[in-house]
Amino acid sequence: MQIPAEAIVFYALTAITVLSGLVVVTSRKLVHSAFALVFAFSGLAGYYVLLSADFLAAAQVLIYVGGILILILFAVMLTHRIESLDIRSETLQLLPAIAGCGAIVVLMLLAVYRTPWAVKEPQVLTQTAQSIGSLFMTDYLLPFEVASVHLLIALVGAVIIAGKRGGQ
């Protein structure tokens, strides 16, 4: 008996990701949208695991769930109108939005079906972290150092913007 375990996990992950994504978009409560992102981000990490990218999966959880999401939550709690229990996100321009989204969906489906994907046999998971580290030090040294400069700019920018908003 062969259990199609990978397929079951894949569809379960898809269900979680899509449903929580829908909650993010449709929920009228801003905080619910933010919290639904936990499941969307974690579902994506699950996809990375299925693709044998274990380091990337853990990084996804560490950065998105542990970092970006906390930032989003803090940002929501800092908004001015938070005093009213139910701040509602409103729907504006429904028809143009549907048209735009539909066009993007068609475009993406075309891209997905027209591209000759390079299909590879699932690989045995090797020391992904070490390989990434070695690549950083050899082939991708410049992007690696540029990332550092990028982070520096982000840090300085964040401080300046936050300082302004504080109104000090």
């Binding site: 375990a5 996990v9 695991v49 299925l50 044998s52 274990d54 380091f55 990084a59 560490l62 950065i63 542990g66 970092g67 970006i68 906390i70 930032l71 803090f74 940002a75 709690m77 800092l78 908004t79 001015h80 938070i82 005093e83 229990l85 699932p122 045995v124 998971l125 090797t126 020391q127 972290a129 070490q130 390989s131 990434i132 580290g133 070695s134 950083f136 030090m137 040294l141 690696f144 150092e145 990332a147 550092s148 400069v149 982070l151 520096l152 982000a154 840090l155 300085v156 964040a158 401080v159 936050a162 300082g163 908003r165 504080g166 000090q168």
Partner: protein, 129 residues
């Protein structure tokens, strides 16, 4: 090795089931007599004043921003750290070490900047410059 992650999945499911079953079990034993006073928000015995959902000090937001920068940096440093021993064995150690000093150095400039601006302090000192 992918299947090693099956254990993680099983742990998540068992964790959720453990809580759900204990909650269901507790339902058999626990009373359920809600009264308006019992269901009111706790505020040291006083009537709650206003909502709890107030606007917060933007200091929290700044901490989270600075945290993300360093979090991403840690994510970059871990593969480097894991590969470093191998690189030393291959005589690329000094090269890798200097790369890392540059990487960390650039970010330390950022830390020094934030520190100097006084944004690391919880209570920001008066603007001096």
């Amino acid at each position: 090795m992918v299947t090693e992650f099956a254990g993680v999945l099983v742990f998540i499911i068992v964790g959720i089931l453990f809580l759900a079953i204990s909650l269901l079990l507790a339902r058999l034993f626990r009373p359920h007599h809600p009264t308006p006073a019992k269901l009111s928000t706790y505020e040291c015995g006083e009537q709650p004043v206003g909502q709890a959902w107030i606007r917060f000090n933007n200091r929290f937001y700044l901490i989270a921003l600075v945290f993300i920068i360093f979090d991403v940096e840690i994510m970059f440093l871990y593969p480097w750290g894991a590969a470093f021993r191998e690189l030393v064995a291959k005589n690329l150690g000094l090269y890798a070490f200097i790369d890392m000093v540059v990487f960390i150095g650039i970010l330390l400039v950022g830390l020094a900047y934030v520190w100097r601006k006084g944004d690391l302090a919880w209570i920001k000192p008066q603007q001096r410059f």
